[in-house]
């Protein structure tokens, strides 16, 4: 296992394509506030700009999320990471991996790209300190071979932040 998320490289299934086209339309009609998705012809990888909410320690800052969809989306979770530079946050590693349960164990097909974005913004907004997770260096070193965060056995931090 060299671990570069082989499953997400496979072509989207018909159901996944169909579902993502609908999500895209919904996004265009009703985009979550604080996010900008530059629509490309690549349905399998979305790059979304995130704007730090007013009144939070990330106000005025802009980050980029990269969302990769697996062949069997939405039965399988998408892979969501921050592109460099990732926001300084106790649950976000410097390589952009995010420790958030809904991206892994608690993923459900009931969720959407839009609802993921809202959860991530809420996670950012509730943080009071700009710092990396305690185990950042160890974790990032361990990911150097290009491992996907979906191959990590996450131990979830408290949900207050």
């Amino acid at each position: 296992m060299t671990g570069s998320s082989a499953s997400s490289r496979k072509v989207l299934s018909k159901i996944a394509t169909n579902r993502l086209q609908k999500e895209l339309v919904e996004w265009q009609v009703n985009p979550p506030s604080g996010f900008l998705h530059k629509v490309t012809d690549n349905l399998q990888r979305w790059v979304i700009e995130v704007y730090g909410a007013q009144g939070t320690i990330y106000a005025g800052e802009k980050y980029q999320l990269q969302v990769d969809f697996p062949e069997h989306y939405p039965m399988e979770a998408p892979q969501v990471i921050f592109l460099h530079p990732a926001p300084l946050h106790p649950h976000i590693y410097s390589n952009g991996h995010i420790c958030l349960d809904i991206l892994y164990d608690s993923w459900s097909p009931a969720m959407t790209v839009s609802s993921i974005c809202i959860s991530i913004l809420s996670m950012l907004s509730s943080s009071t300190v700009k710092e990396r997770p305690e185990d950042n260096d160890r974790y990032v070193k361990n990911c150097r071979n290009g491992r996907s965060p979906k191959e990590t056995r996450w131990w979830f931090h408290d949900d207050k932040v």
């Binding site: 609908k22 039965m75 608690s106 191959e151």
Partner: protein
């Protein structure tokens, strides 16, 4: 000791939560190895325990406890007066929903009860409206709803797509997520259950608080909607009510009566319908005779067959 093994595997799948970052150095703790091993265990599990097993005589249940607790053996003896067989399901956290699905479809395939199919379709439409009114986007649930309707129509004979009982078993064992097969229908039941809980959140709230000390919204998000999350009486009540299908759950545990006699407890989940606005009186209802009977052992549901 088949079932103990299932329990063990369930524990394994919950390990990520127990993983203590402070005690384990990443450098000598390769997640990829652990996860590979984990998926290997799941594969072995899959080979040994299909999603739904073959129908077995109740004596196979007794064999499991041969050298174990005498009270369980006595209880199985009591059960055997009323029940003839058991069909085991895989302990992957979806066993309640999968047992319900199989049991329901099997009932329809055997009874060919067209009126029941029409009735449940009306309930399914109500569930669809519930989800819409709760703000779920149609595209999140519509594929799963279509899958269930297709399933229903396929077990009624005389259609082009009708399937046999054998085919029902084959399809129920299909592991692939690829074609949105029976595996994914579990999601239909999860949507329906979640919708019902949220719609009647004031009714379910105290039970949910007792179980998990979270809000109704949070409970649905973390304990109902994700695949592999185990079911409790809250899920069963909600599913039974939403689809209007009574469910009997027979409890097999080590508890005994004070007077020393051995009896096996069961609970009937009797749906409250919109037409009968009375308070819920499950369990005490006299004439309900649920055609879905599940055997509950702590952490797991299997299907029981009446004599």
């Amino acid at each position: 000791m088949q079932n103990n093994q299932e329990d063990e595997i369930q524990t394994t799948s919950h390990q990520p939560h127990d993983h203590d970052v402070n005690d384990n150095d990443w450098s000598n703790y390769k997640d990829s190895d652990v996860m590979q091993q984990h998926s290997a265990i799941l594969e072995q599990d899959a080979a040994k325990f299909p999603f739904v097993g073959d129908k077995e005589p109740l004596s196979s249940l007794a064999n499991e406890y041969k050298s174990g607790s005498p009270i369980l053996l006595e209880k199985i003896e009591v059960l055997s007066k009323e029940y003839a067989g058991i069909r085991r399901t895989r302990g992957d956290g979806n066993c309640f929903f999968r047992s319900f699905m199989f049991s329901y479809l099997e009932h329809i395939i055997e009874s060919q009860d067209k009126a029941e199919v029409e009735r449940i379709k009306t309930s399914v439409e109500k569930c669809r409206k519930t989800l819409q009114s709760l703000g779920y986007a149609d595209f999140t649930f519509e594929d799963f709803f279509s899958l269930f309707i297709e399933q229903l129509e396929s077990v009624l004979q005389g259609n082009e797509d009708s399937i046999s009982h054998d085919e029902l078993i084959v399809r129920s064992r299909d592991q692939s997520v690829s074609d949105y097969g029976y595996y994914a229908v579990v999601m239909f039941f999860r949507f329906v259950t979640s919708g019902e809980i949220k719609k009647r959140s004031e009714f379910f709230e105290p039970f949910i608080l007792g179980l998990s000390n979270t809000t109704v919204e949070q409970f649905c998000k973390t304990s109902v909607e994700p695949m592999g999350e185990e079911s409790d009486h809250v899920h069963i009540t909600a599913l039974s009510d939403a689809l209007g299908v009574p469910i009997r759950v027979v409890y097999l545990d080590r508890s005994s009566c004070d007077n020393g006699s051995v009896s096996v407890n069961h609970h009937d989940f009797v749906p409250v319908s919109d037409d009968t606005p009375n308070d819920k009186t499950s369990g005490s209802g006299s004439e309900t005779n649920p055609f879905i009977v599940l055997l509950y052992r702590p952490g797991h549901y299997d299907i029981l067959y009446k004599k």
